[in-house]
């Protein structure tokens, strides 16, 4: 926030209020000016397009109309020509040849060619170049029809035609015979004349006839009388210039906008890029195909190519810079384009953009004049408002500044001077009927009421300060006495409290120690009792064990004796088995010898040999079985003897164990006896300890209570002391403040 005086603030506010609407209006006007200008330009462009389009359409229609009328006229004339040709009996070809020099107009080449003579009613049509000599048929036709007339003879199978008799003249005023019309002079294009005539149809339109561009009607000539083959054609027509002479006059007289005009440029072939109709006909026939604008853009080429994309008089637009003869600077131009295909005309209706600059300038100047007026009005308003505001602000701020001075004096404590100043102000500033210091009237303005209130405040302050200064003196003396007394008492209580705390802590220590001791004794006693119980149960367990061991020793003895019996029996079995195996062995041996003997006996021994073998088989089985038994018995014997040995050892261990257990049991009994003796003594010690602990605890509690009382006393004394000090400080402060005032 800016630091401004009240006066400046009031003046500034007034100025702002006066200027703001003016600034807003100016801004809006400025903004509107831009949109207005854009709108005008857009509207003008739409108008331009409409104007040029309309013109282009009119020209197109004009051309169309001229073309149609000429075509109709020619068709009528052709029907007359047809009747005349029929009247002379048509055209035939004799067998005699004539040599022609055929000129190709597109290349300029000359070819010699022999053609059969073309006859009309027995007369050769001749090879007449001279205009002084009359050509048969053609000249009379031309005279009758009042137009140019030509006869063509077919040159070859392809259909190229040679002008053999014509009224068209060359530049050196000869008849233009020997000029050929070649099929497809330019590759890719079908000559419409050939397309129609070779099919046997007639054709009317723009065409090159004997080296001259004509609006012409063509009709095929059939081989008479068979009418099987097209042998030539007849053409009647007008030169193009005569056809569009009227159209040209009209086109040149059509204005577009203020300075715009209509131009026609050739679109294809030889007339491509040539001015056909220019402004006022000044540049007719000029080759402008390569014309470029400042950027090097080939504008004519662009326009011509663009126009040829239109169909049946549709319109396209182009915008470019163009310079006419007699002008120094090119001007921007907007053109409507269209293409009249029948005549190969590119129609160009153009209008210059600076034609409507006048309107824009008018709009701009109106707006700037308005802005200037606004600025002037603003300046005047500012001067008036600032003068008025300064005067008003001064009348508001003068009394306030005086009051500020008085208030500053009061703040400094200089009440006497403040009162004098107020009195002086009352005399100069107030109306005489209002008493100074009296209750202000409600109707008085704010400044007056404020000064009355300040005056009352000053007088009240004076009486109050006087009272305070007197009271302060005796307050200070009482506070000082109080502080001294309380400090003394505080030191006494503090020393008492310290002594009590020390005693209490000592007693507490004693109490804690004796409690710990009592607990320890109790633990020892418990452990001793547990030991006795455990030892008792151990002894009874050992007794049970001793009994079991004795039983075990007995059982072992029984097992040992039984094992000895088994061993003896096994030995017996073994000897029996041995006996059996001996018998088996003997039997085997016997059977072997028997077999041998039987073999020696030969045939007689055969039966016996079988018996011997059987015996041997039985003996072998017995031996095998015996061997098995023998093995089992041997194993059993080994196991039994091992078992007997083990049992003996075990039995010995058991006996040893019985003795050891007996010893342990005796030792345990002694321990139990001694531990049981200990227990009652522990109990006596424990009881004494408990009694001691309880006494110490009681003392300790009493001490703590005492100490707590002393501490509380100290605290309250301290608080009191603090209060006394604060009181003293407050009184001193009060005294200082009161002293500042000059009463």
């Amino acid at each position: 926030m800016l630091k401004l005086t009240l006066k400046h603030k009031v003046a500034g506010l007034c100025a702002l209020a006066a200027l703001l609407p003016l600034i807003v209006i100016s801004a809006l006007t400025f903004y509107k000016q831009t949109t207005l200008k854009t709108g005008v330009i857009e509207d003008m462009q739409v108008l331009t397009k409409g104007e040029t389009e309309k013109t282009a359409r009119i020209v197109y229609k004009l051309c169309e109309m001229a073309n149609r009328q000429t075509a109709e006229r020619l068709d009528k004339k052709m029907s007359v020509a047809r009747i005349q040709l029929r009247a002379i009996g048509g055209l035939t070809r004799s067998d005699e040849p004539a040599t022609w020099k055929a000129i190709n107009p597109s290349t300029g080449e000359t070819v010699k060619i022999d053609l059969r003579k073309m006859m009309a009613g027995g007369t050769w049509l001749g090879m007449n170049e001279s205009t002084a000599v009359e050509s048969p048929v053609i000249d009379s036709l031309a005279k009758t029809l009042d137009c140019s007339c030509s006869l063509f003879q077919r040159m070859n199978q392809r259909g190229d035609m040679l002008a053999i008799s014509t009224t068209v003249r060359t530049k050196d005023n000869r008849r233009a015979i020997g000029v050929a019309i070649m099929e497809s002079p330019q590759a890719g294009e079908v000559n419409p004349v050939f397309a129609a005539v070779l099919k046997g149809d007639s054709y009317t339109g723009r065409a090159l006839v004997a080296g001259e561009w004509q609006m012409a009607a063509f009709e095929p000539i059939w081989d008479s009388p068979s009418r099987k083959e097209v042998i030539g054609m007849i053409a009647i027509g007008y030169p193009m210039e005569s056809v569009y002479r009227d159209t040209r006059q009209i086109v040149m007289s059509i204005p577009v906008g203020k300075t715009g005009y209509v131009g026609i440029i050739g679109g294809k072939g030889l007339q491509r890029g040539h001015y056909i109709i220019s402004k006022n006909g000044e540049r007719d026939g000029e080759y402008i195909w390569e014309t470029r604008d400042a950027q090097g853009e080939p504008i004519i080429r662009r326009i011509v190519e663009k126009a040829q994309t239109t169909r049946n008089g549709s319109i396209l637009y182009d915008r470019y810079a163009w310079m006419n003869i007699g002008e120094t600077v090119p001007r921007m131009k907007t053109s409507a384009l269209t293409y009249f295909a029948a005549w190969d005309w590119v129609i160009l209706a153009g209008m210059y953009e600076d034609d409507y600059h006048g309107v824009l300038i008018k709009v701009e100047s109106a707006v700037s004049r308005w802005l200037r007026m606004l600025a002037l009005a603003g300046a005047i308003a500012l001067i008036v408002v600032v003068a008025a505001a300064t005067f008003l602000a001064r009348s508001i701020t003068a009394p306030v500044e005086n009051l500020v001075n008085v208030a500053q004096l009061v703040a400094q404590g200089n009440l006497i001077e403040a009162r004098e100043k107020m009195t002086a102000m009352g005399k100069s500033g107030k109306s005489p009927e209002e008493p100074p210091g009296g209750a202000p009237d409600d109707r008085a303005d704010e400044t007056t009421r404020l000064s009355a209130a300040i005056e009352k405040m000053i007088s009240d302050l004076r009486s109050l300060v006087g009272l305070v200064q007197t009271s302060c003196v005796w307050l200070v003396s009482s506070a000082t006495q109080m502080a001294a007394a309380s400090r003394e008492q505080e030191s006494n209580v503090a020393s008492f409290s310290a002594a009590t705390t020390q005693a209490a802590s000592s007693v507490q220590e004693i109490s804690a120690t004796s409690e710990e001791l009592a607990r320890a004794v109790q633990d020892v006693k418990d452990i001793a009792t547990d030991t006795a119980t455990l030892a008792n149960s151990g002894r009874s367990g050992l007794e049970g064990m001793e009994n079991v061991m004795n039983q075990l020793a007995d059982a072992t003895m029984t097992i040992s004796s039984k094992l000895a019996v088994i061993s003896k029996k096994a030995n017996l079995i073994s000897s029996v088995v041995t006996a059996i195996s001996k018998v088996a062995d003997q039997t085997n041996l016997l059977s072997l010898n028997a077999s041998i003997e039987a073999e020696k006996a030969g045939e007689q021994g055969l039966g016996f040999s079988v018996v011997a073998r059987e015996i041997r088989r039985l003996a072998d089985q017995t031996a095998a079985a015996t061997l098995d038994i023998e093995q089992t018995v041997t194993e059993m014997q080994t196991s039994v003897s091992a078992g007997v040995m083990e049992m003996d050892k075990f039995s010995q261990d058991v006996r040893h164990g019985v003795v050891t257990v007996g010893n342990i049991s005796r030792d345990l009994a002694q321990i139990i006896e001694k531990v049981e003796d200990l227990t009652p003594r522990f109990e006596i010690v424990n009881d004494g300890m408990k009694a001691q602990s309880l006494g110490a605890h009681q003392i300790s509690e009493a001490m703590v209570f005492l100490s707590e009382g002393a501490r509380k006393e100290t605290d309250s004394l301290k608080q009191f002391n603090e209060a006394t000090r604060q009181l003293t400080d407050a009184v001193h402060t009060l005294q200082e403040i009161a002293a500042r005032f000059k009463v």
Binding site: K582, N588, L592, N593, S595, I596, E599, D620
Partner: protein, 155 residues
């Protein structure tokens, strides 16, 4: 022609002897030792009143004596010495508990012809493996045979 052979073992191998050459099979008896004789001469024993020498075939072929088992037995055979004619001879071998029947054509001659072991004869094959015949007439070398049997002639 069918033949009956007595089969026995020397160490792990099976051998056989034609029954026509056997006089009797006897259980093992105690031999009276013959000091100075080759170690395969097991000793002498009394056969029905005649003292005859015995050859330990295990010792002869493998250099260890036959084990003293029940199946270890003595074959009493007739031995013909070129110089002194027919004599009785004991052959000790193991596992002598069975006979086998062999066709003559199944016996194939052993291809080996070693001077030291001319006593090994033809070989037959059966399910349990090979079995080889012993030719008693070649068991003893000439000098040993002479020393063993010349004494009897002298008496």
């Amino acid at each position: 022609m069918i033949m009956l052979l007595l089969q026995f073992s020397i160490a792990q191998d099976r051998y056989a002897l034609e029954t026509s050459q056997i006089i009797e099979v006897l259980p093992l008896v105690h031999f009276r030792p013959c000091p100075g004789a080759p170690d395969y001469i097991a000793g002498q024993f009394n056969y029905r009143g005649t003292v005859i020498p015995a050859i330990d075939l295990c010792r002869l072929m493998h250099g260890r004596p036959c084990e003293a088992k029940m199946s270890t037995r003595i074959i009493v055979t007739s031995y013909s010495d070129t110089a002194s004619g027919q004599h009785l001879l004991g052959l000790v071998a193991e596992s002598m508990t069975d006979t086998i029947v062999v066709a003559d054509k199944d016996l194939k001659p052993s291809e080996l012809d070693l001077d030291q072991s001319r006593y090994l004869g033809k070989i037959a094959c059966d399910k349990r493996g090979m079995i080889q015949c012993i030719r008693v007439e070649y068991l003893l070398p000439a000098d040993v045979s002479k020393r063993l049997f010349s004494a009897g002639k002298a008496d």
